[in-house]
């Protein structure tokens, strides 16, 4: 597969995963990632896919931002409901929309990098989105401003917003 893809890019991982692995060991860490993977797959619509997985992180590609946000909101709710001290699914997520180039099953490009860096700024249980993703969401009221942030490797500050899941209409996605 090759060519340009226009999509919503989502990175999601587990806050505190390194500390969890050090505290509980590799087997528990593996079980936690497998639990997280089940939750990710459960909310993935047919039009989305897992581009790649690295450690506790997933790179997801959605056809559009509304479906990405609906999926992410569902993921956060599911993980919050099952998180406990043995399975600390402290999920954090970043969403950005734009274009990327396909290389086999992988996707590469500046917008993919931005989505990854946006995730770095999120806290546990939090979803941050770029201004581009907010504009394409169709639900501008579902966000609170975070403000401009400097993202690693990107010269100009990027304006971010925090998703307030309960403000997403049930019909979105």
């Amino acid at each position: 597969m090759s060519g340009e893809v226009s999509a919503a890019f989502v990175f999601t991982d587990l806050a505190g995963f390194t500390a969890f692995t050090a505290e509980r060991g590799d087997a528990a860490a593996l079980a936690l990632v497998e639990r997280f993977e089940r939750e990710v797959m459960a909310v993935l619509p047919p039009t989305a896919r897992v581009v790649k997985q690295l450690g506790d992180g997933f790179f997801l590609c959605y056809a559009d931002v509304p479906s990405a946000l609906a999926s992410v909101a569902a993921l956060m709710a599911r993980c919050a409901a099952v998180a406990d001290s043995d399975a600390p699914l402290w999920v954090r997520t970043g969403v950005h929309s734009g274009t990327a180039l396909a290389r086999g099953d992988d996707l590469l490009g500046h917008d993919v990098n931005v989505a990854s860096r946006v995730t770095d700024m999120a806290g546990a249980g939090e979803t941050l989105v770029s201004a581009e993703a907010k504009a394409a969401s169709g639900v501008p009221a579902a966000f609170e401003p975070v403000g401009p942030v400097f993202l690693k490797g990107i010269e100009e500050p990027v304006r971010l917003f925090r998703l307030v899941p309960e403000r997403i209409p049930a019909t979105v996605g």
């Binding site: 806050a15 505190g16 390194t18 500390a19 969890f20 505290e23 509980r24 998180a83 406990d84 001290s85 043995d86 600390p88 402290w90 954090r92 700024m121 999120a122 806290g123 546990a124 249980g125 939090e126 609170e144 401003p145 975070v146 403000g147 401009p148 942030v149 400097f150 690693k152 500050p157 925090r162």
Partner: protein, 226 residues
Amino acid sequence: MSAWGPPTTAVEVSVRSGSVRITVGDVSVPAIAKGRATIDDRGLVRAPSGANVDIVCPAGTNVFVATVSAAVVCEGPLGSVRISSTTGRIEVQDCLEADLRTRTGKIVVGTAQRRCRATSTTGSVHVTASPELDVTVTTASVEAGGIVRARVHGAAGGVRLVAVAPGDVDVRTMSGRVDVEVQGDWAPTTDLRATSGSIRDRLPDIDRDGRLQVRTMSGRITVSAS
């Protein structure tokens, strides 16, 4: 109208390094008090990297600051204060609400009248008083007072909270001490669980109001009244 009445002004500063100081003064619009910077009528500040920017603004002004390493100091009373940094220290003395993010910089907040959200990797978080708190740290200590509602996630590093009224407090850690002090003649319903750490619940035997939930793996949980 209170000092935090409907904010009509905003200041936005993006500077990679140097320092940023924002104070409240007897001005009708934000202005540059000192430093090589300019500000337009929307409050957008332009400054060269490394500049020491000193801004004076009306009470209740909303503040946005993005930096990599600049130390940021905001005195008050300000409106919504939203600051992101990589390594710079963040200090906010008095605001309506705060959203503060850093990787290694220390976060110090005096009073956030409504809410304080803080995210840090290794920089410690200290909040003197905020009724609502939402903090995520990786390896850093968290101290906060004046709490009614709180949600704290900490992988490692101690957590110390002082709750002042019945609400909903939820603390989740992997290691490190968790100390919650309840101030006043009340006590919350407690749900304290430690996988391998110890639990000490020293609350008085009185009717319960509000909820305190703590989950830790190897940390020690202490809940006390004062």
